[in-house]
């Protein structure tokens, strides 16, 4: 195995680890809330045994909170499951907008820690590219991390895809602090980090404040 290939494998493994750790952390938070609310129900039951009145509205409220957190945890695990399955196929037609939505869902904690909100714009037409889903997610996450730094705290970033002249363009905007963010902070190299089926190029427009990833099928 050559050096570039080993470096790529290490980067992909690190990415997989980071995403899994982040998502399981979120599931733990949901479980911790379920635990406390279930504990409260137990406390109320104990109080009833001591002759104190029980407020049915309060009990209903707690039960509803527990149900909400179960839905939350289930949603998180569905996303984690989709992410895990992104390694199944080496080459497949990827709906880029749906991939960006998966990226956004996986990045929820990172965005929250950066105090940035994310939005994926629906395209006018479906944008599809044939590639390996998992390495593409890794590259897109690298772009997103950079974009969150270049957006600044309290900002909102829109992610969107469109068909390009020879492939697909994926945009991250607006990035008001792009001027203050060094291009070296973009810690993905499109030559090495993209799946072998794709060629890529990053374009940073400091005037309009956006980052674009231009993808085309390797000849």
């Amino acid at each position: 195995m050559n050096q570039a290939s080993q470096t790529m494998d290490d980067a992909l493994l690190r990415f997989f680890g980071r995403m899994t750790a982040s998502m399981t952390h979120e599931v733990k938070n949901a479980l911790a809330t379920v635990n406390e609310n279930a504990g409260l129900l137990t406390d109320y039951a104990e109080m009833t045994l001591q002759g104190k009145p029980l407020d049915p509205e309060r009990v209903h409220g707690l039960a509803a909170r527990i149900a909400d957190q179960v839905i939350r945890a289930d949603g998180l695990l569905k996303i984690l499951n989709r992410f895990a399955h992104s390694v199944d196929e080496p080459l497949i037609g990827v709906d880029v907008t749906e991939h960006l939505k998966l990226l956004m869902a996986l990045s929820i904690r990172f965005a929250s820690m950066s105090e940035v909100s994310l939005n994926v714009r629906e395209p006018a037409d479906r944008v599809v590219i044939e590639t390996s889903p998992f390495p593409l997610l890794n590259t897109l996450f690298g772009c997103l991390e950079f974009a969150m730094r270049a957006a600044g705290r309290g900002r909102s970033i829109e992610l969107w895809a469109e068909k390009g002249p020879s492939g697909v363009c994926i945009h991250f905007e607006p990035l008001p602090q792009l001027d203050d963010t060094s291009a070296e902070a973009l810690e993905v190299d499109e030559t090495h980090s993209l799946p072998g089926s794709l060629e890529g190029r990053f374009v940073m427009n400091r005037t309009s404040g956006n980052l674009s990833l231009l993808l085309s099928k390797r000849a």
Binding site: H25, T33, N35, E36, D43, S112, M113
Partner: protein, 142 residues
Amino acid sequence: MPEKVLLVDDEKEFLEAMAERMTMRGIEVSTASSASEAIRLAEKESFDAIIVDLMMPEMDGLEALKLLKKKSPESQVILLTGHATLEKGIEAMKLGAVDFLEKPANLSELTEKIKEAHAHKMIVVEKQVEERIRNIMNVKGW
């Protein structure tokens, strides 16, 4: 005298439920949903224990711990985390945390640690008072 606790977590429903359960157990509870809010509260009031979530937006638990210890070195800070690693645990202890617990937390275990923190703080404050009295007596030459 009831123990006084400050709970710090950005998960609002978790915070509310835990605060209510602790109040039922006779603990006086204040809450903060961010590290900066916690630091503002800690500047105004003295707490027996401050329980802080490790992963929060704006400022994480370890940064909050550093600032809390700087503003009031006698603070007994317990860190709560969704994923406790050995490295984070060691780092937290080196920065002055009294304990490092994983969520979901066992409330009985947590209230025991709050009682221990309360007792420890009493000893620290007593020593500080003794030191102050000793200094006054040395200065006054009694």
